[in-house]
């Protein structure tokens, strides 16, 4: 972890800027998510003000509602801010779950080899061929009947898409690392397979996980919104979800009403861009083939005079 931070500190040039801009954008959304109740003027499912007066339907932006209201009487500004919380909760949960499942699976598969490896690779490849959105649709469709349409269901639908990615990368790195001299040495001193995997291989194969993780997170924001847009995501009374709001904005857009559609979409674009920039920046920082380091001043120790005798 400390090594990672130092590597980030030592970046230079474009990679540094990409990381910085991406991090700032992402942090803004994280702040939205954390402090939504204080930042948003209203609750995400609030349709009446404190005095009990119902909000105007499709009120234009301005007095009372900074960004207007939508066709369900919701305050758009509040929906956008609360939406950050939903998006980040789902994304965090799905990325953590797919790492926790995908990485050990890849490690074991690559280390053991044999038919276990072959079967797993084949199944993962088959899953990989299905268009990611279709896969998410199937899972969301199935989970909606089982555990409802909340944040957990949405996150689980995304997990299925991302597991194969971690599996592939970790498995391939493991296969090439398995024959390395240090593993052979470990085996020679009598280390058990679990020890080799835990202590020797794990640290070497997780290098690329942070990069895939952030890029997946960016992808997950878009996929979550797509599910919501298709009517498979989180229901509006459970949490605020940008994709769902966009699907409600469709008819209004045909009528030329722009504000219900503009803001949730803009939020999606910004969050995806932020996360992608962090991912790309990390990639250029951690990937030895791409990285350019800041040059630190080199100080030579003064040469000692050697007496010629």
């Amino acid at each position: 972890m400390r090594g990672l931070l130092r590597q980030i500190w030592n970046t230079k040039g474009l990679a540094r800027w990409i990381l910085l801009v991406g991090a700032i954008v992402t942090v803004v959304f994280v702040l939205f998510a954390l402090f939504a109740p204080w930042i948003a003027p209203f609750d995400f499912n609030q349709t009446r003000d404190a005095a009990g007066v119902k909000f105007e339907k499709l009120a234009s932006p301005g007095s009372g509602h900074l960004l207007g209201t939508n066709d369900q009487f919701y305050d758009i500004c509040s929906r956008v801010v609360w939406g950050a919380r939903t998006a980040l909760e789902v994304v965090l949960l799905s990325v953590v779950l797919s790492v926790v499942i995908g990485v050990p699976l890849g490690l074991v598969s690559g280390f053991l080899g044999g038919w276990v490896d072959r079967v797993l690779v084949f199944v993962m490849d088959a899953i990989y061929t299905v268009p990611y959105l279709l896969l998410a649709i199937i899972f969301a469709f199935m989970l909606n009947d089982r555990i409802g349409s909340g944040i957990v269901a949405a996150a689980l639908s995304l997990v299925a898409i991302y597991i194969p990615q971690y599996f592939r990368v970790v498995r391939n790195t493991t296969v090439s690392a398995r024959e390395a001299t240090y593993v052979e040495a470990a085996r020679a001193i009598g280390a058990r397979p679990t020890t080799i995997m835990r202590k020797y291989l794990f640290g070497n194969v997780v290098q690329s996980v942070p990069v895939i993780g952030t890029l997946n997170a960016a992808d997950a924001v878009g996929t979550l919104a797509a599910l919501g847009f298709l009517g498979l995501g989180i229901q509006p009374n459970e949490a605020s979800e940008w994709g769902y709001d966009l699907s409600r904005a469709l008819d209004d857009a045909q009528a030329g009403v722009w504000w219900p559609a503009l803001w949730p979409g803009l939020a999606i674009v910004l969050l995806i861009t932020g996360l992608t920039l962090v991912g790309e920046g990390l990639n250029e920082t951690l990937n030895p083939a791409l990285r350019r380091r800041r040059l630190l001043p080199v100080r030579f120790t003064p040469r000692e005079k050697v007496d010629a005798t």
Binding site: T129, P131, L134, I137, A226, L262, I268, I272, T276
Partner: protein
Amino acid sequence: MSSGSGSLSRYIAIRILLVIPMMWVLLTLVFFLLRVAPGDPVSAAFGGKLSEDALDVRRHNLGIDRPLIVQYLEYLGQVAHFDFGKTISDNRPVLDLVRDNGGATLTLTLGAFLFAIVVGLPLGRLAGRYRDSWGDIVIRIFGVLTYAAPIFWVGIMLVLLVVKLFPSWPTSGMASPITIFTVQPKTHILLLDAIFSGDGTAISDVLKHHVLPCFTLGLLLSGVIIRLVRVNVIQAMKGDYVEAARARGISERAVVRRHAFRNALVAVVTVIGLQVAATLAGAILTERTFNWPGLGTQLVKYILARDYIAVQGLVTFFALIVVLTSVTVDIINGLIDPRVRY
């Protein structure tokens, strides 16, 4: 490796044989994911609307009161005969859906591909050739934006723009009601039907309706193509044969066009073929945005009706398309490029 045509036919044979286990894994996955859920398709679709006895009759008619393994084998058998089952909610064969609505999805995706290639290839080549110039940076930002902006949001924004600027331009559906009423359905592809009818206003009406959805989906794809072409041109420009061509005194333009770009295209063809999966996903979302009467709209409709068989059938069909295209692309690559054969 043996030489010449022997290894090529072997490659093609292996590639085609691999389709079968791959499809099997996919079918099994789809079947069990959708069926193992507690509750059954009939009560999901009609629960609360029909009496318990009526539900039982429907369950029996559909054969889903039998053991799961029997249904599974039957499903595999059906798919082997290109039969994707009948929808529960309105009792239509899924193949009829494909026939009636597949045409709309087909013209949408083909139009989008056409647009993406016409825009993507030259822009990608430009960005690759003049690497790190201002043009390159602008083109790359465009590529990033097409990746970050959800396609349905881009679609909605374009609708808003068109509604403001050209109020009479169509922004929803595939044709005006009058066109759908007058054109004789023969091929089930509305654009072809309109052309066959020879009715000028019908043709222009259908074409006009195509512009916005194809443009939207095309933007998404062009972003992918631009990135690909750019990277591959940069890579190809580093090749020794480019250096050799330069040494022979060939002009830089000709070097880029005849040597670097052509070699870059080989890699691009592969990945464009693999984009079919992404295109299908994009098409589903685009169809919903523009109220386009294609397979994606049907899928959404049956999802909302909680119709398991219809969803299973449509998803299976989509998966089949994706697997078949990827095989076709692999075979074409094997024909073009001897290095990729097994």
